[in-house]
């Protein structure tokens, strides 16, 4: 009863209005327990932690502007004649989808701005996710307990690509229609069911009269709905796990050091939303994107040169462009390997990234939680894998734009295509080796800095004439930070003979794991970090340099 009385007396007293509203809500929603753990939640500070925020905010911007666009867009492929205010296209036949996009761009005040913000935000959203994923990958933030959140993020990236592609196709302009045709050709290449898939997707033969309406519901409802759910789950897990942090003085695996959500991060993150929105609005004001009026409505028998998809689809474009045109005919059937192989590699390139956390945790056999981020140099093999993957991706992007490379740099398109075909196999290997060497070099440098101090730039002449550079010992903070990382020992295959002399069979998986572990953490793959003994030995004798 006492609690009741006290709350009644509070309510009757002159509590501020905000407090009374909060009390009211708490009585129904239990918000105080939620606020207790989250209102002063600590977030660590690092510039790279903003990348995920860029994605979140651009997603919100896309939703806001997208809802506005649906108020004017007609997802229909009925043919109409254009009578809007853009003179060069007047009298032309076009689908209602194209017509309404023209209407938005020329006759709705601010419509062009919202369209451009929507498209720019989509490009930034995907670029943001790409870079955010790299940050998470290279710092090892995907390790336990965050593997599932890595998968959520990965799905957001993949679904984002498809949402982008379907949205890009909606205006039914010449460029996007060509992209849809490409997709149809790729679907046709699927063995056995390809033609059926294509006919079901397009409601018959390409282009038919259905795909804009179908893409529309996929683009505005199905995919964003799933993405919104994933995004909320992603954020809940970020809160639940608490943010990772880099090693440093006072920062351990059991704490999180930073500033509280209220007020600092509320202001910084909230303000950052406006910064992102403001920058995208300014870009949309000055940089035209997807000017459909200069491309015209889609006609399956017309095309423009330099046809390019949006950047995030570029690597699939590269795959399809550089693949030799293999076709195998047998028993009245055709296996269109020239298109189907790229279609299969496309998801494999992505899945390689999705499953990586599970592969690494299998190799290390580490079941502990990790909240301290790795510096990329301290995980040379992982970093090398990441760089090799990016190299692969970039090579394919070059392949996807081979016509632009040829025209802008006056190169032979045949030579570029052959370069990409070779680089597809060679460049990732070279990148892997080079990255690993660089990481080991940086580890050695860290070790030198710990043991011998920082190069001060001061040159001293000794009595006997020798010149030396004075090294300044590092502070304890720096010593701690540079030696805080953990180093795994390669997993060895246990004894193959038990105490009774009976031979144990070593399974293939175990052998593979030992080999991978050696490759990850063997002598070739990491520089042992300095030990206290080494440090004492070097620093105890004076006159060191």
């Amino acid at each position: 009863m006492s609690t009741n009385e006290s709350s009644e007396s509070r309510a009757r007293g002159k509590a501020p209005a905000g407090e009374r509203v909060a009390d009211w809500a708490d009585g129904r929603l239990g918000i105080y327990s939620l606020a207790k753990s989250n209102m002063r939640k600590i977030f660590p500070d690092h510039w790279s932690f903003m990348l995920g925020e860029v994605c979140l905010y651009s997603f919100i911007i896309i939703i806001l502007t997208g809802v506005y666009l649906t108020l004017f867009f007609h997802p229909s492929m009925n043919e109409v004649e254009y009578h809007g205010s853009y003179v060069p296209l007047q009298g032309q036949l076009m689908s209602e989808a194209f017509n309404s996009t023209m209407h938005i761009s020329f006759d709705v005040r601010g419509g062009l701005l919202i369209r451009q913000i929507h498209h720019w935000a989509a490009l930034i959203f995907l670029a943001g996710m790409f870079v955010h994923m790299m940050r998470v990958f290279f710092t090892g933030a995907f390790r336990k307990p965050r593997e599932v959140n890595w998968l959520f993020g990965f799905l957001l990236f993949v679904l984002g690509m498809f949402t982008g592609f379907t949205g890009y196709s909606l205006p039914d302009d010449l460029l996007s229609g060509t992209g849809v045709r490409f997709m149809e050709g790729a679907i046709l290449s699927v063995p056995v069911v390809g033609t059926y898939l294509s006919f079901f997707l397009f409601g018959g033969e390409f282009p038919g009269g259905d795909f804009v309406a179908r893409f529309y519901s996929i683009h505005v409802l199905l995919l964003p709905g799933i993405m919104l759910g994933l995004l909320v789950a992603h954020l809940i897990l970020v809160f639940y796990h608490k943010h990772t942090q880099f090693a440093g003085p006072g920062k351990t695996n059991n704490n999180v050091v930073g500033m509280p959500l209220l007020p600092v991060y509320m202001a910084k993150a909230g303000g950052f939303f406006f910064l992102v929105f403001g920058v995208i609005a300014a870009i949309a004001a000055i940089a035209s994107i997807n000017p459909i009026w200069s491309m015209g409505p889609y006609r399956p028998d017309q095309v423009s040169t330099g046809a390019q998809p949006d950047w995030y689809m570029g690597f699939s474009e590269g795959l399809i462009r550089v693949m030799p045109g293999w076709e195998i005919n047998f028993w009245g059937h055709t296996l269109v390997l020239g298109v189907f192989i790229p279609l299969v590699i496309f998801p494999l390139v992505l899945v390689a990234i999705a499953v990586y956390p599970f592969i690494e945790s299998w190799v290390t056999g580490d079941k502990r939680e990790h909240h301290i981020l790795d510096r990329p140099r301290n995980a040379p093999t992982r970093t090398a894998f990441g760089v090799a993957w990016i190299t692969w991706y970039m090579v394919l992007l070059i392949g996807g734009g081979n016509d632009l490379w040829a025209t802008h740099f006056h190169l032979s398109i045949n030579a570029i295509t052959w370069f990409v075909r070779v680089a597809f196999f060679v460049a990732p290997v070279l990148a892997f080796v080079a990255t690993k060497r660089i990481c080991l070099g940086l580890q050695r440098r860290d070790k030198d800095k710990v043991l011998h101090g920082r190069e001060s730039g001061i040159i001293k002449r000794l009595p006997h004439g020798e010149f030396i550079e004075v090294h300044e010992p590092l502070s304890q903070e720096q010593l701690h930070t540079l030696t805080a990382h953990e180093q795994y020992a390669p997993a060895a295959i246990g004894a193959t003979v038990d105490e009774n002399g009976v031979e144990r069979k070593v399974k293939g998986a175990e052998k593979l794991r030992a080999k991978l572990s050696e490759a990850y953490y063997g002598e070739e793959s990491q520089i042992p970090k300095p030990t206290v003994e080494e440090y004492k030995e070097i620093t105890s004798g004076h006159g060191h340099h």
């Binding site: 939640k41 600590i42 036949l93 020329f106 005040r109 601010g110 062009l112 701005l113 490409f182 149809e184 290449s189 699927v190 056995v192 390809g194 033609t195 059926y196 294509s198 997707l201 018959g204 033969e205 282009p207 639940y240 003085p249 006072g250 050091v257 930073g258 500033m259 600092v264 202001a267 910084k268 909230g270 303000g271 950052f272 406006f274 910064l275 403001g278 920058v279 995208i280 609005a281 300014a282 004001a285 000055i286 940089a287 006609r299 399956p300 028998d301 095309v303 040169t305 330099g306 399809i320 045109g325 076709e327 005919n329 009245g332 055709t334 298109v339 295509t417 304890q476 701690h480 805080a484």
Partner: protein, 351 residues
């Protein structure tokens, strides 16, 4: 502002060091020294600097308000079809430019104000928060497992196998209804991809002039696009039909045609090929008259029109289909049948 203006008691040296610096440990020089002491910003010790920050933030918020007023003024005042020249972008829509910049400024100023406020006036002392293991403690785990076993036991799902198996059966089958419902998304392919609108006797109509073509209209070295007679832009099925029937016509000196069948199917060196690339279906539109090569601008498949349109470079897997043509009584080019193989991208049933 000079440092002697700052009250003595506000100087960092006068204040308690927060989270004292760890003293180097004799045993372990790499030991964690703990959180470094908080370093004061000028705003923390000098109220005048703090007030300057306050004014900056307020100014940014005011700029935002003005920019929003500017947005509304632009919306009302600038005609939507006015074009202006802006260096170095060129001619752009004035309304889009004005709306975008004012909106951008209004939003950016709010963001900049909030961030400046957070960085200069809100506390910047780092705080440590404990983490707790994500996994539940053993007793919770045991309780949950016991509860689940109890629940499963009470349901008797494991004991009454008949219920279990029929339930799984029902749950596995009912999604089939959903799959069935997808059947009418489109018709079955049948042989639709094997045929186009072309048939014997249909005249070749110039895509640009919409007039039937005479052999004399096709000059050596030119590239002409054609469609079947009777297919008009306003037709319901125009897009779908032209996606298969689009034709490109070139004239090559008959001596230069290397492929025997190609020569046979041509008319006085005029050859008609499908315009739809056999790779993934882009329309081919670039013709090199000296070499008789055509190039698809999408993925750069290159075909030699003087040699049966075979692929000489790029990702396409087979030659472009040729349409057999002749001349009718009135002297117009006509088709002598449909393509003898499917046009466009290859597919499983193509063979």
């Amino acid at each position: 502002m000079s440092s002697q203006d700052i009250p003595e008691e506000n100087l960092p040296a006068e204040q308690d060091a927060h989270g004292a610096v760890g003293v180097a440990d004799d045993k372990n020089p790499f030991a964690d020294p703990g959180l470094p002491p908080h370093e004061h910003r000028v705003q923390d010790i000098d109220e005048r600097a703090a007030r300057r920050s306050e004014r900056t933030v307020a100014m940014l918020f005011t700029v935002s308000m003005l920019a929003t007023v500017g947005f509304i003024a632009s919306y009302v005042g600038i005609p939507h079809d006015k074009s202006i020249f802006v260096f170095p972008i060129g001619h752009i829509n004035a309304l889009n430019f004005a709306l975008g910049l004012t909106l951008g400024l209004a939003l950016f100023a709010i963001g900049a104000g909030a961030v400046h406020w957070a960085r200069t006036l809100m506390s910047d002392e780092e705080v440590a928060d404990e983490r707790h293991p994500i996994e539940a403690p053993p007793e919770v785990r045991a309780k949950v497992h016991a509860d689940f076993k109890q629940g499963a036991k009470e349901s008797a799902l494991g004991r009454r196998k008949l219920i279990r198996n029929t339930m799984f059966g029902a749950l596995a089958l009912f999604p089939l209804s959903g799959v069935m419902l997808l059947r009418d998304l489109g018709p079955l392919p049948g042989t639709k991809l094997r045929h186009t609108m072309w048939r014997k006797g249909l005249q070749l109509v110039n895509m640009n002039t919409n007039e039937p073509l005479r052999p004399s209209d096709v000059a050596v070295g030119s590239l002409t696009f054609a469609k079947p007679e009777g297919l008009e832009e306003h037709d319901e099925e125009f897009q779908t039909e032209i996606a298969k029937a689009a034709l490109m016509i070139v004239r090559i000196q008959p001596d230069n045609i290397k492929d025997k069948r190609e020569l046979e199917w041509s008319y006085e060196g005029i050859v008609a090929y499908s315009k739809i690339c056999t790779h993934v279906g882009c329309p081919i539109s670039l013709y090199e008259q000296q070499t008789h090569h055509v190039l698809c601008p999408c993925h750069q498949s290159t075909f030699d029109l003087s040699d049966g349109a075979r692929v000489i470079f790029g990702p396409a897997g087979h030659a472009l289909p040729q349409l057999r043509i002749g001349v009718n009584d009135q002297g117009y080019l006509e088709a002598l049948g449909d393509f003898d193989e499917p046009v466009g991208p290859a597919f499983w049933e193509r063979g």
